[in-house]
């Protein structure tokens, strides 16, 4: 008789998920799944609304990466309007997107993952959280809070609000940047550099202690997808998509937002409200791929900013070919944070950032439009159709977490197989299985969401109904 281990809820995650692990009668792991348990219906209830409302409505999909939704949505609207936004507006949005990347990576690394990394996978669950980190390693705890504050304060300075700013609109942004605000942002940069340097140093010191995790945390070949610039440097806001295989060879390059839905499809599995994206020519699941920091650093050839460039070179040394273990998402996130700070500094050094032309206006000039951007956790795609009056008639979104879904599920299985032997497991082992999911930084409110959180009580029952093992986490 087979048995099931349920981890519910998976904690320190952006949203609600459960993990189930199926064991054979012999106690060997036969299958494991990561379930996303919320569904929200934005694709359907946006119908009938005016297209120019989309950015601020779609941002409410997610309070962690609302900026990515604002940008992808605004770009889809601009395709419908057939306008190109002013240079200053494009740079301001680029800065906003980078600020969000820094704050979201700080959330993922420090608030959600660092308790495992700095306190240990087996640490007391009652202190294994950001407050525990702040108590045990005050400098690092404060660096994390500081980096998140850095990103959120830039968003607030630009858009007047930290969460759900209304500043990004179809055609550009509503307000130019004032010199006073620019100077405020510039004044925060030295502290941000110091904080990220502290984090990189600490991470590199401890990473060696996680050899076993590195080997089994979704460590396998996959395809990868991310935005990239023409000069093959990293890009979060413009550029086109490149899909590479597990050796780094290009499968398809120059995928524009308009072409995305021809290239990528989505499959449904019965156990998750989040769909599974794949590259259509390869079919499902062979065409599955990973997105996000690991994918981006595997795909790009350059960062384009000096400090991050040196870190990228070091990152690429982690493995002989592409860096395959999802554990290295953590490292990639730190490199990208450094890049974000450098790039923001670079953008602000150009006086054109204070330009007054920040918004293009137009009506409906096309009945269909798509936009894409890199969210902190990976590629985000919005696709709308409208009628002649600009009312939305159809919408489809492909979010990062759906594109990582197959790898997350296989990663949970890989770790469960490695750690759960003869039906035996401990709290620390289950935490490791959860930690696999944390490496991907999935955003479950983006990908759908909303389950009840029940106590975690696992009973392993043998074929004759006898409880052979039992773990309760509370």
């Amino acid at each position: 008789m087979s048995q099931t281990i349920t981890i519910d809820p998976v904690t320190r995650l952006e949203g609600h998920g459960k993990i189930t692990i199926q064991l054979s009668a012999q106690g060997e792991v036969e299958a494991a799944h990561f379930h996303v348990t919320q569904v929200r219906g934005f694709e359907r209830f946006s119908e009938g609304r005016p297209f120019y409302e989309m950015p601020s409505l779609m941002a409410r999909i997610c309070g962690i990466c609302p900026v990515s939704h604002l940008i992808a949505s605004a770009k889809a609207c601009e395709a419908i309007m057939s306008v190109r936004i002013p240079h200053t507006a494009a740079q301001l949005r680029r800065m906003l997107n980078l600020a969000q990347m820094v704050q979201s990576h700080a959330l993922s690394f420090f608030y959600l993952a660092s308790p495992d990394l700095l306190l240990g996978m087996e640490a007391d669950p009652n202190v294994r959280n950001i407050l525990g980190v702040a108590a045990a390693k005050p400098e690092l705890g404060r660096a994390g809070v500081g980096l998140r504050r850095f990103g959120q304060t830039i968003i607030e300075l630009l858009g007047d609000k930290r969460v759900h700013p209304g500043w990004v609109v179809p055609g550009g942004v509503t307000e130019p940047l004032s010199p006073a605000k620019r100077d405020k942002i510039l004044a925060m940069i030295p502290e941000a550099y110091a904080n990220v340097a502290l984090a990189l140093g600490a991470y590199k010191q401890i990473a060696g202690a996680f050899k076993e995790e590195i080997e089994v945390f979704a460590s396998f070949p996959t395809n990868y997808l991310s935005l990239i610039n023409e000069d093959e440097s990293i890009e979060f806001t413009d550029g086109t998509l490149r899909l590479v295989d597990s050796t780094g060879s290009i499968i398809e390059d120059g995928i524009t937002a308009a072409r995305f839905s021809e290239a990528m499809g989505e499959a449904v599995e019965p156990y998750s409200y989040t769909k599974f994206a794949y590259y259509k020519p390869l079919g499902y699941p062979a065409g599955s791929y990973r997105v996000g920091p690991l994918a981006r650093l595997n795909i790009v050839k350059a960062m384009g900013t000096p400090r991050a460039e040196a870190e990228l070179a070091e990152f690429k040394q982690l493995a002989p070919g592409l860096v395959e273990s999802s554990f290295h998402y953590h490292h990639a996130r730190l490199v990208e944070m450094l890049y974000g700070i450098e790039k923001i500094e670079e953008i602000l050094a150009d006086p054109r950032i204070l330009g007054k032309h920040v918004r293009a206006t137009a009506g409906v000039n096309r009945l269909e439009g798509a936009g894409q951007a890199e969210a902190p956790r990976g590629t985000l795609h919005h696709h709308y159709k409208v009628d002649d009056n600009g009312k939305i008639t159809w919408a489809n979104l492909v979010i990062a977490t759906g594109q990582n879904n197959n790898a997350m599920n296989l990663g949970v299985l890989q770790a469960a197989r490695h750690y759960v032997k003869n039906g035996k497991f401990t709290e620390g082992i289950l935490n490791r299985v959860e930690a696999v999911v944390r490496t991907f930084d999935p955003c479950l409110s983006c990908s759908s969401h909303a389950a009840g959180q029940m106590p975690l009580e696992i009973s392993l029952v043998s074929a004759d109904g006898e409880v052979v093992d039992r773990v309760v986490r509370d």
Binding site: T37, E43, G63, V163, E266, V268, Y273, A450, Q453
Partner: protein, 177 residues
């Protein structure tokens, strides 16, 4: 004196209210000196504790699991705070109410799928027909509007709740803030 117990819960919301809670930044670390965060998406507790002094709830009630959960939370919380517009009015999640769950699921998993089109039904919870705010299920003690309420709002309101001081909510925040 033992520390006050604080919980934060996430039902059908976008996590924006939780992000705004975190936007207290260093003030959150100071707060942690006088309260224990005993249950939250940010900590590893899997079971809602028996006795919590203050529970902040984000989001509306949208699935059978949400409903079960909000009742349990009420039973074990002294002060229940509806945090943000979704918890108070249904806000964005309730936009699906005129459409109904079948059409929502059909669009996402049948029409907008290119392989294995099907409605997920294994382990995932059933959706309620209508998304409703939490006070339609249980008694709410404090309503903190905003989409999301600002970090300053959280800080002022929590300080008042912890110290038992006066709390003038309309002076702090409003719907859509």
């Amino acid at each position: 004196m033992s520390k006050l117990k604080l919980a934060t819960v996430w039902l059908d919301g976008c996590s924006g209210c939780h992000m705004s809670f975190l936007d207290m930044d260093e003030r959150l670390l100071e707060l942690a000196e006088i309260v224990d965060v005993v249950y939250s998406p940010l900590v590893d507790t899997k079971k809602f504790p028996d006795e919590v002094d203050i529970t902040l709830v984000e989001g509306a009630v949208a699935s059978v699991d949400d409903e079960k959960k909000i009742r349990k939370i009420r039973d074990h919380s002294k002060t229940l705070v509806a945090m943000g517009d979704c918890a108070i009015t249904g806000n964005v999640p309730s936009m699906r109410n005129p459409i109904g769950p079948e059409a929502i699921l059909d669009r996402a998993y049948i029409q907008n799928a290119s392989a294995q089109a099907q409605i997920p039904c294994v382990v995932v919870p059933k959706l309620l027909r209508v998304v409703r705010p939490i006070h339609e299920f249980v008694k709410v003690d404090v309503f903190l509007p905003g989409c999301p309420p600002s970090a300053d709002t959280f800080h002022t309101a929590l300080t008042a709740l912890i110290n038992g001081g006066p709390l003038d909510i309309p002076a702090l925040t409003r719907f859509g803030a």
